[in-house]
Symmetry: C2
Subunit: 181 residues, 2 copies
C-alpha cells in the first residue's frame, strides 16, 4: 500500500485512545510488569511514546522541511524516556501523550503537505537517505510496533497460567523482533 | 504471574473499547487489508472475537462446571467466524462483540467462582486435561494474541512505505506465531 497522509493520520490520531482503553486504570500487576531485566513495562512504553513524540517524529519532519538532507537529523536517545517515566503516574503519561499527539497532528496539518513535499529528502544519522513520506509512514508503524510490544508484555505474564493452551496462543511465541526506532 | 480472576476480568472487560478505539471508522484501506491469501482482515479478526465469544470461552467454562472432565469440550470451528463476517459491517461486529463480552463477564461474575472452582478440570479435545483457570487465562491471552495480530496486519501495509526505517520497526519483522485457539 502506498503512503497516504490522511490514512496515516487516521491511525496516528487514535493511538492515545487505544492506549487509554488498554491501560488506564488497569491493575498495577499489568502495568508494572515487564519481560525481564532491562525490558520495558507498559508504563515505560507509554513514556517512550511521549518522549518520541517530543523529540523524534515532528522535530525530524520539521528538520526535513527546514534543512532537507543537508544535515542529518539530530541524534535521539532511545532510552531517553526512562527519566520521564520514573516520577510520573501512568495516567499522567497517558494525558501528556494525548496532548502531545494532538499538537503534533495539528502542526502536521498546518503544513498542508502536498505530494512534492512528501518526497522531500532527509538524512537519518544511522539509516542514511530517507524521505518525508517514509518518516511519516515509520511514525505510523512505530505506534503499531509498540502496541505489538504491549500485547506481548501483558500476555507473557500468563505464559504459565494458560497451561496447555500456550501452543495455540501466538503472542506467547513472539520473542520480539528489533529495537524500536 | 499467577492467574487472578479480577485482574483477568480487568483486561477482558476492556477489549471491546480497545478494538473500537483502534478500528471504528478507520478508513477501509486499513480495515479490509490482510497479510495475503487466506489471511484475515481486521474486520475478520473482530468477527473471530465475536464468534469465539459466542461458541468458545464461556460455553467451555460452563461445560467444565457442568460436566468436569467427563466429556471433552464440544468441537469449535476455527474459521466459523467467516460466515458471520461477510454480511455485517465492522461497526456492527464491534457493537455485537461489545454486547457479547459484556454478557460473558456478567455471567462469569454471577458464578462467584472461588479458588477451588478455578481448579476444576476439563478436557480439551486436542490439548487434553486443562483447568478452569487455564481456560480463563487462555481467554485473556487470546484477546492479546488477536490484538497482536491486528497490529501486524495494519503495519504490514506500510512495510514498503517506511523505506529504510523497516530495520528498526519490530512489528514488520513479526511473521506470526501460531494458529489462534
Amino acid at each position: 500500500m502506498e503512503f497516504n497522509l490522511d490514512n496515516a493520520l487516521a491511525l496516528l490520531a487514535r493511538t492515545p485512545s487505544v492506549l487509554t482503553a488498554l491501560l488506564r486504570d488497569l491493575p498495577d500487576a499489568w502495568t508494572t510488569c515487564n519481560e525481564g531485566d532491562n525490558t520495558w513495562t507498559p508504563k515505560d512504553v507509554v513514556a517512550h511514546y511521549l518522549y518520541t513524540e517530543q523529540v523524534n517524529w515532528i522535530p525530524r519532519a520539521r528538520h526535513i522541511l527546514e534543512h532537507g538532507d543537508g544535515q542529518p537529523f539530530p541524534p535521539f536517545k532511545r532510552s531517553g524516556h526512562l527519566a520521564e517515566s520514573e516520577p510520573k503516574s501512568l495516567a499522567n503519561l497517558l494525558d501528556e501523550f494525548a496532548a502531545a499527539r494532538s499538537a503534533s497532528i495539528a502542526e502536521l496539518r498546518s503544513w498542508k503537505l502536498g505530494p512534492a513535499d512528501l518526497e522531500r529528502r532527509g538524512q537519518h544519522p544511522a539509516l542514511g537517505p530517507t524521505t518525508l513520506s517514509q518518516l511519516l509512514a515509520a511514525w505510523t508503524v512505530h505506534d503499531l510496533t509498540h502496541l505489538h510490544q504491549l500485547t506481548r508484555v501483558l500476555a507473557l505474564q500468563y505464559a504459565e497460567a494458560v497451561g496447555p493452551f500456550k501452543k495455540f496462543l501466538g503472542v506467547l511465541h513472539c520473542a520480539g523482533h528489533s529495537a524500536p526506532a
